[in-house]
């Protein structure tokens, strides 16, 4: 039997359909995207199954070994992130097709850019050298900026601001790469990992700071979040969903990967604490701002700022703590990334449905929405449960594991942060949901929608719920840090 090489295929497939979609135009782009995304999901599934069986997989394109060639490798974390990316992309492809049928602005560039985005992101998850990672990071950023700009004249300012942030982030990262290369003469992760130790020169420390700061900007960690709400809130809804669910996870993945593989020997627990404090600030500031928004999409965008904060609690919980605490932290933060990815994609999809139906997304005017769009209301509710971290949901499981990690490592203050953050999340989620129960005062006009606008989001929300009921296999794929 011929062994199919999964690793290159999962990068090449989206690249291929993106190029074809570029040639074929928007009328056929969605067919290519649907076929391609389905195939990618199957590939990611098989890769996860293989990684879950034990050994990490390594692929060497062209047969050139490191340090000359480019190394691609898949471990548990990469496999899980690949699964998330393809799992979110497929329902969103269905959604985007229905969305752009009603609201054609941006459809022209959506399919090719999304394909390139997925290809770059998959390559990022699989790359094992820091320069190659830079290239993929830049490609992800540019494709994402292009997608934001496709929203029309109103979103150019947001796109430019986003471009500035993403270039700042990757520039800072590249500087770090150059410093490391200068110091150690190699860019492959395994070789660097064997050389970076507690006794490393200060230049390694500087490189670590630059690279992590770059990732913090790209992930919109407080106080670098300034670009996120306008970009995510202003883009067409399918784009917002992709950006909030996946793109920021890519740069977070990179930060976590570098930390675990490279910088852990350099870091002191206080580094972790500092990053954790920024995460906590993100949770509070993002939630507070979300509560103050009058528009649904802006509320969801600020909620992303807050949820990103939970991801960064990984650093204090996994830096020189007991192995059990670090293990829980990695599992918890991965589940948080997945839960947020699925739930946030669902929420933006639902917000898009609201906009298509009513022509606006002002929260105050959503009275009577249940009667017209019950599926969308349930989507918002179920995704909200996951964001709040209440059972039964993946968000709950994530929070459980993170709190467990904080207890095992004796860092009770992060528990307070997470608990308070959960309550704030409930406050802004119910700010939206309460309209589902209010009597319809004003006679808002709700245009009926085709099913494919509402159901993909619902499925994503249900997935974030179902993951909270069955996560054993996933954690098995993830393995130990």
């Amino acid at each position: 039997m011929i062994e199919i090489e999964l690793i290159p295929l999962i990068i090449l497939v989206p690249l291929l359909w993106a190029s074809l979609a570029f040639i074929a135009g928007p009328a056929h782009g969605w067919k290519l995207a649907l076929g391609g995304s389905t195939l990618q999901l199957v590939l990611a599934w098989r890769l996860a199954a293989e990684v879950g069986g034990g050994a990490d997989r390594v692929h060497v394109p062209g047969g050139w070994e490191a340090p000359l060639g480019i190394a691609l490798s898949a471990d548990g974390l990469a496999a899980v992130m690949l699964l998330l990316a393809q799992g979110v992309a497929l329902p969103l492809a269905f959604y985007a097709r229905a969305y752009f049928a009603r609201h054609p602005e941006g459809a022209h560039t959506f399919w090719p850019l999304t394909g390139f985005l997925l290809a770059a992101m998959n390559a990022l998850f699989l790359s094992a050298d820091i320069f190659n990672l830079y290239v993929t990071l830049e490609l992800v950023g540019l494709a994402a900026v292009g997608l934001v700009a496709s929203g029309g004249a109103g979103s150019v300012a947001a796109a430019l601001r986003y471009l500035l942030a993403t270039l700042l982030g990757s520039g800072s990262y590249l500087l770090g790469v150059a410093l490391l290369y200068g110091a150690y003469g190699t860019v492959t992760l395994p070789e660097l990992a064997s050389q970076v130790t507690e006794a490393s020169p200060p230049v390694a420390m500087l490189a670590a700071g630059l690279m992590l700061a770059g990732m913090a900007v790209k992930t919109a960690l407080f106080p670098f979040h300034f670009w996120l709400p306008p970009a995510h809130g202003g883009a067409p809804s399918p784009v917002s969903a992709l950006l909030s669910a996946l793109v920021i996870k890519a740069s977070f993945y990179l930060a976590a990967r570098l930390w675990l593989a490279l910088f852990l020997p350099l870091a002191t627990p206080s580094w972790g604490q500092v990053i954790g404090v920024l995460g906590a600030a993100a949770i509070f500031w993002g939630s507070f701002m979300a509560l103050r928004q009058a528009r649904l999409k802006m509320l969801i965008a600020y909620s992303t700022v807050a949820q990103v904060g939970y991801l960064f609690l990984f650093f204090p919980l996994a830096t020189h703590t007991e192995p059990a605490a670090a293990q829980s932290a990695l599992q918890g933060v991965t589940l948080q990334a997945l839960a947020h990815g699925l739930a946030k994609a669902a929420m933006f999809a639902a917000a898009g449905a609201v906009i298509l139906s009513t022509g606006h997304d002002r929260i105050m005017q959503l009275g009577g929405i249940t009667a017209h769009m019950p599926v969308t209301v349930f989507t918002l509710a179920i995704a909200g449960v996951s964001l709040m971290g209440l059972p039964p949901s993946a968000g709950f499981l994530a929070k459980w594991l993170l709190i467990d990690s904080a207890i095992v490592s004796g860092q009770w203050w992060w528990i307070v942060v997470m608990i308070a953050g959960g309550l704030l999340t409930a406050a802004y989620v119910f700010k939206v949901l309460r309209h589902a129960f209010l009597r319809a005062e004003q006679s808002e006009v709700y245009k009926p929608l085709p099913r494919l606008v509402e159901w993909p989001g619902f499925l994503l929300a249900v997935a974030s719920l179902a993951l909270g009921l069955r996560a054993a296999e996933l954690l098995n794929v993830l393995g130990t840090p």
Binding site: G422, L423, R439, A472
Partner: protein, 503 residues
């Protein structure tokens, strides 16, 4: 999966699946909705009857499912679970009938009955949870599924009450979560076992365990409406009457009290709790709640608010029984779990009947109500006399064992608290009965919307449930020595708890 594994799951599904289908039913499919509701409620009773019979013979019913390694969802039908499960399933059946009559013609019925089914599913899950994780799981599900019921009417005042309800219960849930994860961190797993399991940790952990106990009790104390965490309960009575009935008798408040029972007996163990010096403060807290609730009830003119404060007081009887440490007090507390449920649901059904039929919301409007609605008022009187612990009612049995338990535990102050509460109960219930039976009607009824037809003083579906539950109040009081009475079942549980402690 054998039958014994599947039964707890079937009990859960018998309301979960109809709930899902009901959500998808169009508003006008009234017959289908009613059929689904009643079939679910009936089927659940059948399953539970079967399990009751099995548990009494020592059969084990347990469903286990690992979400992630080390974190299991466990549904187990032990004797204590059966006490609560039977109560909730029986009262759910009655409340479903009542709700069908009550919501006749009002909007959003599919939504209402959908969440109603979810709410009962969560309650049954709380009852059958076999470990602390599963308990928390269903406890939070209960919060989420009751919110839509509380705010069902969608008016501004309702939404405000809903916010308060959420603020209290979600904050309580967060505190509870901290305690639960903490205990899991210490023990690895926290199964509910008679006699508790934390005592293995040894004296070095005593302070941590006290703190965790505080977190757990504060968490469930919100739903159990322990003073000073009770503020949401009187506000939540803006909900429709069937919801109030369910909230006060079986679902939310009772889930909190049941949580305290589980934590004290099956996580910490009654004697270990006592050894840590935690039972006395809990008893004092319960005593304060009993008196404070009764005192506040005295001054409420709104009928449902008066009943709500009465719930605050009565639910802490259960907590007091638990905190008194000793088999007699345990029996009193556990039996009151059932007795308070059937008495309070009767009272809320009746309050709903007065409001729906005549528009009576206030005690001061009740003059002469007994002549217009004799059957309802009869049921109300039985419930109220039960609350005052009059002989031949369920309340008498509870009070008898609680007082006895206080005497055995050497806590004479608790006997005084119970006596004072009975006097206060009389002080706020007797004037209502006096007005209803002996005073003459002065003005027209505030809003008479259901006319009398023959002997039917109101809609039959509204009348039957309180009559049935009133009969149950009398039966539980007079037939308390019967082998299948709540009292006998409570004795069985107490026996199993204390035998295993001595072992």
């Amino acid at each position: 999966m054998t039958w014994n594994d599947a039964l707890p799951l079937l009990v859960l599904s018998s309301s979960l699946l109809p709930g899902f289908i009901i959500f998808n039913l169009p508003e006008e499919r009234r017959g289908m909705r009613t059929a689904l509701n009643l079939a679910g409620a009936g089927l659940k009773l059948v399953f539970i009857a079967f399990m009751l019979w099995g548990v009494a013979r020592g059969e084990r019913y347990e469903f286990r499912y690992a979400i992630v390694p080390g974190l299991e969802l466990v549904l187990r039908a032990d004797a204590l679970a059966m006490l609560f499960v039977t109560l909730s399933a029986a009262l759910w059946f009655l409340t479903t009938l009542y709700a069908i009559g009550y919501l006749e013609g009002s909007p959003h019925r599919s939504r209402f009955f959908g969440f109603f089914s979810l709410c009962v599913t969560a309650t049954v899950g709380v009852a059958m949870a076999g470990n602390l994780f599963s308990f928390f799981f269903f406890y939070e599900l209960l919060t989420l599924s009751t919110y839509p019921l509380v705010v069902h009417r969608g008016k501004a005042s309702t939404m405000k009450a809903g916010n308060i309800y959420l603020a209290y219960t979600l904050a309580g849930g967060a505190v509870l979560l901290t305690g639960v994860v903490w205990l899991y961190g210490l023990l690895g797993r926290v199964e509910f076992v008679p006699g508790g399991s934390v005592s293995v940790l040894g004296p070095a952990y005593a302070d941590q365990l006290r703190l965790v106990f505080g977190l757990l009790v504060a968490g469930v104390g919100v739903k159990a409406a322990l003073v000073p965490l009770h503020g949401w309960l009187p506000k939540a009575m803006v909900a429709p009457a069937p919801v109030s009935a369910l909230l006060h008798a079986v679902a939310v408040v009772k889930a909190g009290a049941f949580g305290i029972v589980r934590i004290v007996y099956e996580v910490y163990g009654a004697d270990f709790t006592h050894g840590l010096g935690l039972s006395a403060p809990l008893a004092v807290l319960a005593g304060i709640t009993i008196l404070w609730g009764s005192l506040r009830a005295l001054f409420q003119d709104d009928l449902k608010r008066r009943l709500a404060y009465s719930t605050v007081s009565q639910v802490s009887y259960i907590v007091l029984g638990v905190a008194l440490v000793g088999p007699i007090g345990t029996i009193g507390g556990l039996v009151h779990l059932v007795h308070q449920g059937i008495m309070k649901i009767t009272l809320f059904f009746c309050a709903g009947n007065y409001a729906e039929t005549l528009g009576i919301h206030k005690v001061s409007e009740m003059n002469g109500a007994g002549r217009r609605m004799p059957l309802t008022t009869l049921a109300f009187s039985v419930g109220a006399l039960g609350m005052m612990s009059a002989p031949f009612t369920a309340g008498y049995v509870s009070k008898h064992y609680l007082t006895e338990g206080a005497a055995v535990a050497g806590a004479p102050w608790a006997e005084w608290v119970l006596l004072a509460s009975s006097v206060l109960n009389a002080a706020y219930f007797l004037p209502i009965l006096y007005r209803a039976w002996f005073k003459r009607q002065e003005d027209a009824w505030p809003e008479e919307s259901i006319p009398r037809r023959g002997w039917l003083e109101t809609n039959g579906l509204l009348l039957a449930p309180p009559l049935v539950s009133a009969v149950a109040v009398l039966a539980a009081g007079s037939l308390s020595e019967h082998p299948w009475s709540p009292l006998s079942w409570a004795k069985l549980i107490a026996e199993r708890q204390y035998v295993s402690v001595e072992r």
